[in-house]
Symmetry: C2
Subunit: 324 residues, 2 copies
Amino acid sequence: MASIRDVAKYASVSVATVSRVLNDKGYVGAETRKKVEAAIAELNYRPNEVARSLFKKQSKTIGLILPDIMNPFFPELARAIEDTASKLGYTVILCNSDEDEEKAQRYIDVLLQKYVDGIIISSNTILEKTIRELNIPVVCIDREISKDIPTIVVDNKKGARMATRFLKEKGRRKIAHIRGPIDIVNANERCEGYREVVSGEQWFNESYIVNGNYRMETATEVVLELLRQHPEIDGIFAANDTMAIGAMKAAYQHGLKVPEEISIIGFDGIALGKASIPELTTIEQPLYKLGQTAAKVLIKLIKGQDIEKTFYQFDVQLVERDST
Amino acid sequence: MASIRDVAKYASVSVATVSRVLNDKGYVGAETRKKVEAAIAELNYRPNEVARSLFKKQSKTIGLILPDIMNPFFPELARAIEDTASKLGYTVILCNSDEDEEKAQRYIDVLLQKYVDGIIISSNTILEKTIRELNIPVVCIDREISKDIPTIVVDNKKGARMATRFLKEKGRRKIAHIRGPIDIVNANERCEGYREVVSGEQWFNESYIVNGNYRMETATEVVLELLRQHPEIDGIFAANDTMAIGAMKAAYQHGLKVPEEISIIGFDGIALGKASIPELTTIEQPLYKLGQTAAKVLIKLIKGQDIEKTFYQFDVQLVERDST
DNA sequence: TAATTATCGGTAACCGGTTACAGATAGTTT
DNA sequence: AAACTATCTGTAACCGGTTACCGATAATTA
């Protein structure tokens, strides 16, 4: 590959001049510029990004740390982030942390060594202190760590209220909730939203809230048990779509028809919901928008620009399909 | 961040010595080594990967170019590749090409500028010549471009035969096939496998093969039309799971029960198949294994090691669930 | 004891960009 | 004509690693 010195030699100018036309910086005469451009074209020269990174101490690369790209919730976020970053001239390194703090920490170390300009992370295990010590911009997505770190989320509580109220409006009398992991903020918020709506009801009882872990199989198990213990249940609000599908399976196994005998609503709006039969009613997050915003905000921070706020909360939308 | 010169100064040795203990190369006295290690620990020194890359002309980074990470087929591959690369000390840059050759080419340019050590690509638009000109190792996954480029795929034709025969064994008499895009090799191979099994049947007729594009909605449309024209059809082999789900939806819309009145089998073995109701019978690819192999082979090539073969074809497995 | 070899450590150039600084030329002002 | 300014270009140091090469010391051999 041709280097900047080759180009300089070919155009009979100095490397400084070539660098100037490359970066459109400082004075360059029209004639000289033309010569240099011709040389660049002729030699098919592309500046070496690594050398540039070394001097500039930045790499036009961002790190993306997700729990697991195989979790169907994340691909759309990842796609939006990659699209946006790419449009703005950045490249993204993908990391799967498996919700494991140590693993996340190792990834962070590697990313720092590679001079990434910033990190987008979805994690509930990482500590605020750790992030603050990085000295590069970080934005959190889907999971909130601290009000001081820029965060992109949806209004989980409101969404949960919408979901629960919707089941009531559909005439459901006994509505259960399959919640997400206790250490994940959004799971608690969704549970809280559900509570706000049902806590006044005389039928409500703590055993209507069962623990899930955002995974399908577990949801099927716990819902099966729930239905055995509470045959009166005719509505389920699952804290995510994956568990909602699991709940649908449990309902079928228990001999209940969806939506005739029991209504099920999810949360997230992942593609999976459109693949189930019947298609899943859900509280849809603007996933692409979230990812896009995360990338935009991060890159603004990288460039040292101001951001309007540190907490971006988007609205969710009820998408009625066939499971309610 | 501390540099190697800081460490050298702190340990009262030269930078060369520090580099030697860092890389375990050349002679270093036991005493000296200890001093240096202490200094490294004390200053919390981490070598700058960018500087190293510049000199070594390699970055411990690989590029992964996929059509679209939102396509549920790819996350598992991506995960396997990332896991494996990470274990071997490599980092992966994610790129979504949208099957667009120009976009892929732009990504390749960027990756080259960043000195990636190799590329894993899934594409049918990119040309062999383009790849050969890169001068860095490339391996293809899922899609075959040329016998000369290391490729990781499954035995599509065999899988297709298995699927079709399985439907016959289940007593299905009129079996249709929803094929994938004509410009994708694996779609053609799967179609070929189907053909081999049914072409001898007297009922077989070209109109039993309909064109899909690996997407659900389209599959639903074409299958609906197919069922209208051929009410005798009692079995469908879809070239991928996503279309199989689409076919199931069409069957329901057409008033057919799955699997009682019509059997449907897919191909790929993506997680989606386990989320549908009824769960999808499919020809499962060892996706994780494929990704893992791609990463291993690529890294071997990067290190200049020999690889056993240039064409890795894995076996598929029939996973019987509830749609047949 | 002298010569040879193994071990150890330092100096400086290099990877391929960027940029501070200085020097040269041309045009303008007094 | 002298002084000054605006425009243009080049030299060399720097980013933070790696490594070729050289010199010094200690251990071994003749």
